[in-house]
């Protein structure tokens, strides 16, 4: 059904909301990647099957939603309107939930979230600390709607910002985005309004609006959740962008590994087209805008703006030098605006609620909210969105619940392969673009990886170098060869083959790459190295001079042994060892055989009595054991 005017849209929304209001209750089953991997699909099916028979009686509907964020406790189920959150729900719990809670009105304490310190059970999802400190803008509808249900999205406010925008002049829309202070959520944090204005002012009839859904940062999944969980928010932002800069074509570049994002976006585009929100004469305004999807080929460098555009042209994704601006000559050398998925998702909300509303959140120069995937050695792993300026401590301890197994905190990594590690001394750093950059890291696209004392910082730096060595496009020498040489030096470091002067050589090479590389991939590639050297130089020195890995991670430098006085023969290490290097019967002393041990540390992590310790390999050699 085509919606022909803003008035008809208001009518449509009203009826969609009225339809929702008739539902007595809703069962929201999180079907994000994390929950699906934990068996959420079976839970949703069980609800649908159980409720189908009694749907008329209880008027309750099952909805498969996008990622609720609290992946750690999945599969998650939220019951509306009460807002009860059940965690780790199994298909066999479903009948009890239907009988007791939906029909009987009583909660099931066993399934509620338990506050670890007080042991208190929390009923309402908004009271759970993980959610309490969050403010959701880009992810405002995720978890509340069924991403495949157009009316559901509309009833929850989708395209409200577009209706307002089309009632304004493009200049007024630009002003609103300017007031909001919105900056790019995909990396560098460039002013969105300024980018749009350059493109609007560029000469040319044909212009492009692009969405960067490549999400190459190997520890981030927020763009995926947005595209999967609320695809209409992305489309709405792009149409508004098109109106503001005078473009009629939009393309979403989606990472190859995100098939569900492609499916949900494709369906959303079709729904929007059928409703007249995409295509000719949108809502009777005379404005035309079309959107299509292009799937990436799986190359990290294609997240870079000019490489992405070459890839869209069907070419190899090699970046261009930056003196040509994409806003003048981008895709097919025509004026182009490229923004990140989250940036686009923010735009609709800004138009709906006003730029001043957005600017009221955040810090002086970083406005609004930011989405992160909070992962690694943290208790509450998940997807979060918070106002800029919250401190790392609040994020990791209040929302994240602290370090996994209460081990000591070592660092948090942000900004992916272009970012860096922030140490414990800076935990009270407010998170915004400027502060993270000052600390030697960067905002990046939203990965936030918590590391404990069992994380080796030399190994982390090497991990990113290896990633980038594989992903460098090879067009320019400082990046291609620099990464190769740097990785070789790190391979030596972690194997105990480092040579005197290596640290200084690494630093010199880093400077060369920063100065000489063509694109940001190469220029920023040394960042993980430089930041770990800045805060954890002693670990480098330990690897180089003493041939030791203080965290016990680098295998060539580490051995494990069982302390006979502590071992109670529980057999856990025996089961954990992948190579059968441990012998011992239950209730008897266990022994690690050094000739078979590959120093993976699985036994160390599995031992409940801390009877296993690691020590530098050379110490064992000195004792004549190996």
């Amino acid at each position: 059904m085509r919606i022909e005017s803003p008035a008809a849209f208001a009518e449509f929304r009203k009826s969609a909301q009225a339809k929702l209001a008739q539902r007595r209750a809703e069962v929201l089953v999180c079907c994000g990647t994390g929950c699906l991997a934990n068996g959420a699909a079976a839970v949703a099916e069980a609800f649908a099957a159980t409720l189908d028979g009694s749907a008329t009686e209880v008027k309750t509907f099952t909805k498969r939603t996008g990622c609720h964020g609290f992946c750690e406790r999945g599969p998650l189920v939220v019951l509306r309107p009460a807002g009860i959150l059940y965690t780790k729900v199994k298909p066999r719990d479903v009948k009890e939930i239907v009988d007791k809670t939906l029909k009987g009105g009583t909660v099931i304490p066993r399934l509620l979230y338990k506050e670890p310190t007080s042991g208190q059970r929390i009923e309402h999802y908004q009271e759970v600390p993980f959610y309490k400190h969050q403010t959701r803008v880009a992810m405002r509808r995720i978890g509340h709607i069924d991403p495949t249900d157009f009316e559901d999205a509309i009833a929850h406010g989708a395209y409200g910002g577009l209706v307002k925008a089309l009632g304004m002049t493009p200049e007024e829309v630009l002003r609103e985005v300017e007031i909001s202070g919105l900056r790019g959520r995909g990396g560098a944090g460039f002013s969105t309004a300024r980018k749009w204005r350059s493109c609007r002012n560029a000469k040319g009839e044909r212009k492009f609006v692009l969405c960067n859904g490549d999400e190459g940062d190997p520890g981030a999944f927020k763009d995926r959740s947005i595209m999967e969980g609320d695809p209409h928010s992305v489309l709405e932002g792009m149409i508004i962008g098109g109106w503001a800069i005078g473009a009629h074509e939009g393309i979403i570049y989606v990472r190859d590994e995100y098939p569900l994002a492609v499916v949900n976006l494709t369906l959303a585009i079709q729904q929007a087209r059928d409703a007249g929100l995409v295509g000719q004469n949108i809502l009777g305004s005379g404005f035309a805008f079309d959107i299509r999807i292009s799937r990436g080929g799986g190359a990290f460098v294609c997240g870079e703006s000019s490489a992405l555009m070459r890839s869209l042209e069907g070419k190899v994704g090699e970046p261009r030098a930056k003196y040509v601006h994409a806003t003048d000559r981008g895709l097919y050398d025509l004026p182009t605006v490229l923004n990140n998925v989250e940036t686009w998702a923010d735009v609709g909300a800004i138009l709906e609620h006003g730029g001043a509303w957005f600017a009221a959140m955040g810090t002086t120069k970083s406005k609004g909210t930011k989405a992160f995937s909070l992962v690694g050695k943290v208790k509450n792993t998940g997807l979060i969105e918070l106002p800029m300026g919250m401190t790392l401590r609040q994020i990791i301890y209040d929302i994240g619940g602290g370090v996994l197994n209460d081990r000591p905190f070592k660092a948090v990594q942000t900004g992916g392969p272009s970012g860096g590690c922030v140490p414990e001394a800076l935990l009270d750093l407010p998170v915004d673009y400027e502060k993270l950059t000052e600390a030697g890291s960067m905002m990046g696209s939203g990965g936030m990886i918590v590391m404990d004392d069992r994380t080796c910082m030399v190994d982390v730096a090497r991990y990113f170098l290896k990633f980038l060595t594989e992903e460098s496009c090879g067009k320019c020498v400082p990046c291609r060869e620099g990464l190769h040489q740097m990785l070789a030096m790190f391979d030596d470091l972690v194997a105990g083959r480092g040579k005197p002067g290596d640290i200084e050589r690494i630093e010199r090479l880093s400077r060369g790459m920063q100065l000489g590389s063509l694109c940001e991939l190469g220029k920023s590639a040394p960042n993980p190295v430089i930041s770990t050297l800045r805060y954890f130089r002693d670990e480098y020195v330990a690897h180089l001079e003493r041939r030791e890995c203080p965290a016990g991670i680098c295998r060539d430098l580490t051995t494990y042994e069982i302390m006979p006085e502590t071992c109670d023969g529980c057999h856990a290490c025996f089961k954990a060892c992948p190579v059968e290097a441990i012998t011992g019967k239950v209730k008897e002393l266990h022994v690690i055989h050094q000739d078979k041990c590959i120093a993976c540390g699985a036994c160390y992590d599995a031992c409940p009595t801390q009877a296993i310790r690691f020590l530098p390999k050379h110490q064992l050699a000195a004792r004549g054991v190996a």
Partner: protein, 162 residues
């Protein structure tokens, strides 16, 4: 190239019909062709080059640049280890090493009987259960090196390859 000229070109022709014959279609065409054959056979690349009027060298260049493409046949069962940052610091390396040891292949490699291909992926969005191992479509969270054999069993590719 002529040695294996037995490849049926019909699926490729079907894909090519759906796209305009121009360079901009190249990546999308290769993706669809890859899905149809499970890899990019040489003969098919030649046909793609002819049809889209793109030099063969360019087709090869694109086919080797992007990770989504393989020029050699893939295994019946694809085993992926997530090597994203969260999985890395929670033991993805140990997992991958053990998997490769048991199947006797390098990461990216395929067993000689075409039973398994081992791949690495970056963050699959299930960091809460890091490290993650995926056998075809089944996710194994908190995956342990000691359980690799168990994960492989029950998949179509025959687990006793070592």
């Amino acid at each position: 190239m002529s040695a294996s000229c037995s490849v049926d070109l019909t699926p490729a022709e079907k894909v090519l019909e759906r796209y305009p014959a121009e360079e901009a279609s190249l990546i999308q065409v290769l993706q669809d062709v890859h899905r149809a054959y499970n890899y990019l056979p040489c003969e098919v690349l030649v046909r793609v080059a002819e049809t889209l009027h793109v030099p063969l060298a360019k087709v090869f260049s694109v086919g080797t640049f992007y990770k989504a493409f393989s020029l050699t046949p893939q295994g019946r069962t694809i085993v992926k280890v997530c090597t994203g940052t969260a999985c890395h610091i929670r033991g993805a390396v140990q997992l991958l090493d053990e998997l490769c040891r048991q199947l006797n292949v390098e990461p990216g490699g395929t067993t000689p009987d075409l039973g398994f291909t081992v791949k690495t992926v970056n963050c699959v969005g299930a960091c809460a259960m890091a490290p993650v191992l995926i056998v075809d479509e089944t996710y194994y969270g908190n995956a342990a090196a000691a359980k690799v054999g168990k994960y492989l069993k029950g998949s179509g590719g025959k687990a006793d390859a070592n």
